[in-house]
């Protein structure tokens, strides 16, 4: 190939398939119930596996006897995860697993496993730092500027305590896989956000070369950051399969265990002192914060949010991770950002109320501290969001709204996120019959990855959307990477663009002689290969492909995240959201009336799916802001709401009208593609928490905005 094709995106106005509101590719399969998730697979001779788990939050296994389980009719294999001597650090820890012919037998057998424990003291709650003892070790003090002097000089100082609890991912499809280990090779069908490297993570644990581990997955029932590796469960499924002579084993966690051990968002607590000028300029921020991510601690929200690295002139921070005897945290849709946004925006709103200023104006001052390239974006967004939320007319000073016992309030939340693209390889095959196959070893989490890859490929080849077939979901395909950090769309769109244009360049070479020009004089438009500037000199796509002859064209394309692709993908987005709520001061019930999101974006491949991502992030956020909280019982060490009736999720009636303003414009488009899975999920607790404070005149410091928390705040009780 003589010349490297120009991979840059076609100008916005020239795009024919990209930018279209095409319906999701896997919609019919999902809406008809025919989509087969890994948990739906029932291969021949399947064994069902069930775990026996620890009822104690902290204990030592002193004796384990699996003999009765092993002798049960229908039991094919038993695996002990926690042999005698193992120290258990949280309830729900895996003790042993049984694989049997039916799920019922497996459950019975798991119950027959006799385990004796030496129960040890536990700590399962972190709200009271004083009770954490040795489980809480403060980090170093981080100081910038002269906070003490800044507080002395400040026109106003506000102090407050805030908290946001541990919540669980609560993926609807629990974590697990179907695994078959035969001889020296393993076939795995996991529920994962990472089809490409799942095998690499399993390989060392089972001593099977990664190349011998095949991974396939067509659909995944939710991940949100919690479903990357095989976990212990993938390994145990493999071991059970091997013990059972190579029969496939299905091991998916039950709901209770899922809620306890398959991931959660760390909590964050903070005592914040914030000071500034009468004009709304914040000059100093001080926080003593603590958080838990489970036994390994973790959870360190970047406060003061957005402003910390960029311009907040004075701050003092001390953070204390708290180790507790509960399941470990995992990445949760914009890790640490929700907590940081909530803690920071709550303190800012309270400061605004203290100086009797419209928080919109205070936030406009605060965003001066955001990265320089975002300052104007945030200001525009604040104005746009205020306009869409009818802020000027509907906002009122804190607690001064109209109405009787049901109070109205509005609140603002800020968001930021990275994005970029993950490593991705793509192969495009053009066949002599004109058919096109695009292959990437990626996964579609429900974000629309299938659809947008197909759109990019069709656009690049000058074909209609239906002219491209796509294969994803296997580690035998060209390597992609984990879908995390909103990096998938940035990676796959660029690898697809490059791969399809590389293939097209080859097609130009075989078609050029027939058109009597050099290959670089050709373009692919509307299903034709034609001479640039002479649209009449053309071949149809089909006749051009016939000239491929007996072979086929197959070309790779790659995006390497270490080599940026300016203009093709980018990272760094801003977002502003405004909640409009009603609070019933007699019942404590918060109802979101209307919700506005103004979202910064890059090049949008499919506005329908981009909007769905934003809606999804917001709806999930409303659920967390109103209902969600992991409840741990200090007495027993157990999770009390390890289910879905007491671990509450928002339902259809809890969701208001949501207004999404996606900032599609030329200037943003030129940045290239930016992922939107996480950015819109950041500021909901902040916006709703602030709206509730604005409504009822006092801060409800502890998320979620549940009736008990609201009534506590109204009664002046600290929860």
């Amino acid at each position: 190939m003589a010349n490297t094709p120009d991979y840059s995106w076609p100008p916005m106005q020239d795009r024919k398939v990209m930018g279209q509101r095409i319906k999701r590719a896997d919609g019919p399969a999902k809406a008809s119930g025919r989509a087969k998730y890994s948990s739906d697979l029932n291969p021949k001779d399947l064994l069902f596996a069930v775990y026996a788990t620890s009822p104690y939050a902290h204990a030592r296994v002193t004796k384990i006897d699996t003999s009765e389980a092993e002798q049960m009719k229908g039991v094919a294999a038993v695996h002990v995860s926690a042999p005698a001597g193992t120290e258990i650090q949280w309830e729900g820890s895996e003790i042993a697993a049984v694989a049997a012919n039916t799920e019922e037998i497996a459950r019975d057998a798991a119950r027959k496993i006799k385990v004796e424990y030496e129960v040890l003291p536990h700590l399962v709650n972190e709200d009271d730092l004083a009770k954490a003892g040795a489980n809480a070790v403060a980090g170093g003090e981080e100081v910038v500027g002269d906070p003490d002097k800044a507080f002395q000089d400040a026109d106003a100082v506000h102090e407050g305590s805030y908290s946001i609890p541990v919540i669980t991912h609560c993926c609807l499809e629990t974590h697990g896989s179907v695994v078959q280990w035969q001889g020296d090779s393993i076939m795995a069908y996991p529920s994962t956000q990472d089809v490409t490297t799942w095998n690499n993570q399993l390989s060392p644990n089972v001593k099977v070369p990664a190349a011998n581990i095949k991974v396939k997955m067509d659909y995944v029932g939710g991940g949100f950051g919690s479903k990357f590796g095989p976990d212990a469960w993938g390994e145990v499924a493999a071991r059970l399969s091997q013990k059972a002579g190579g029969r496939p084993v299905k091991l998916f966690l039950d709901r209770s265990t899922e809620q306890k051990i398959a991931g959660n968002r760390p909590s964050a607590f903070a005592k914040i002192k914030i000071g500034g000028k009468k004009d709304g300029t914040i000059t100093v921020f001080q926080a003593q914060s603590w958080a838990t991510g489970g036994f390994t601690g973790g959870g360190s929200p970047p406060i003061p949010y957005i402003s910390k690295q960029n311009g907040m002139p004075n701050y003092r921070l001390v953070h204390t991770p708290v180790h507790i005897n509960a399941g470990a945290a995992r990445a949760w849709r914009a890790p640490n950002n929700q907590q940081a946004s909530y803690l920071t925006c709550a303190a800012i709103e309270d400061f605004a109320a203290k100086i009797d200023m419209d928080p919109l104006e205070v936030f406009k001052k605060v965003v001066e501290y955001s990265p320089k390239v975002r300052v104007d974006t945030y200001k525009l967004q604040l104005d746009k969001a205020a306009e869409l939320a009818d802020w000027k007319k509907r906002w009122h000073p804190r607690g001064k709204g109209p109405g009787g016992t049901v109070k109205h309030g509005m609140g603002i939340g800020m968001a930021a996120w990275g994005g970029g693209g993950h490593n991705s390889q793509c192969r495009t095959t053009i066949n002599p019959d004109g058919s096109v196959l695009v292959e990437i070893g990626t996964q579609d989490l429900g974000t629309g990855t299938r659809t947008i890859i197909t759109q990019v490929a069709a656009e690049s080849l000058g074909l209609p959307y239906a002219g491209v077939k796509l294969a994803i979901g296997s580690n035998e395909l060209p390597k992609d990477a984990a879908s995390g950090g909103s990096t998938t769309v940035g990676g796959v769109s660029v690898s697809t663009r490059r791969s399809t244009l590389n293939a097209l360049a080859k097609l130009f070479e075989v078609a050029a002689p027939a058109l009597g020009v050099e290959p670089d004089q050709l373009e692919a438009v509307d299903g034709h290969i034609r001479v640039k500037g002479s649209p009449n000199k053309s071949l149809t796509w089909a006749s051009a492909c016939k000239k491929i002859g007996a072979g086929k064209i197959s070309e790779m394309g790659e995006f390497n995240s270490r080599q940026r692709a300016p203009g093709m993908n980018d990272q760094g987005v801003a977002g502003i959201q405004i909640a409009d709520v009603s609070v019933d001061t007699e019942t404590g019930i918060v109802k979101v009336n209307r919700y506005v999101a103004v979202q910064d974006c890059g090049l949008i491949i499919n506005p329908r799916l981009a909007e769905s991502q934003i809606m999804g992030g917001i709806i999930m956020g409303i659920s967390t802001a109103l209902f969600e909280q992991r409840v741990m019982d200090e007495q027993t060490g157990r999770m009390l709401n390890d289910d879905m009736e007491f671990y509450k999720l928002a339902g259809l009636g809890d969701i208001p009208e949501i207004v999404v303003h996606l900032d599609i414009r030329d200037e943003n488009d030129k940045r290239g593609v930016i992922g939107l899975g996480e950015p819109p999920a950041v500021p909901i607790c902040a916006a709703i928490g602030n709206a509730v404070a604005n409504a009822i005149g006092v801060r409800v410091p502890n998320m979620p905005m549940s009736p008990d928390h609201v009534l506590d705040a109204l009664a002046g009780r600290s929860a």
């Binding site: 989509a35 039916t102 019922e104 259809l652």
Partner: protein, 216 residues
Amino acid sequence: MSSKKTPEPARPKSGFSRRGFIRGVGLGSGALGTGLLEKEVTAAPAGAASVAGPGPVPITLNINGKPTKLTVEPRVTLLDALRNHLDMTGAKRVCDRATCGACTVILNGKTVYGCTVLAIDAQGKDIQTIEGLAAPGKLHPVSQAFWDNDAQQCGYCTPGFVMACKGFLDENPSPTLQEVEHGLGGNLCRCGTYVGVRKAVLEAAKAIKAQGGKNG
């Protein structure tokens, strides 16, 4: 209605029983309402064993109009029978205790959570699952509306939502938005597709009416 808990007495040789009588006089479920009595009418088909189990028992389920034979333990739920024994995996197991609706199927015209109905109790009843809504390659108007309105992301809740929506529209063909929110409040989604779902249900109602009210 204490009879619900009373073990079924041996069926008289004559075949005359209270259930047989009720069936015999031709009282439809409409006349009996939706109380326990209706459930009893259809709970035990003629000839069923009075005590089942504890081991696996052969049963016949009438699924999507087709009698389907299988052998399950009496404790097996309808959901697990469909998923684990019949490879009908449209209905999903999510909460496994009647909270989330992912396992919704339609039993004698009523939406039920498949995780809280025993397979043996579903004998003699008309079981509709999502697999029966439309022929392969075709979409039922409700499924179509879910696709058209992007009322799905990961899609794991979608089959349950579609079945709940179908059952809801069968009972209430012209719902208001408020009725939709109430009527489908028993289904949960984690990805956040509710805005699409609300639109989908209203649009499906219109589409079904446009087809002359025929809803699958």
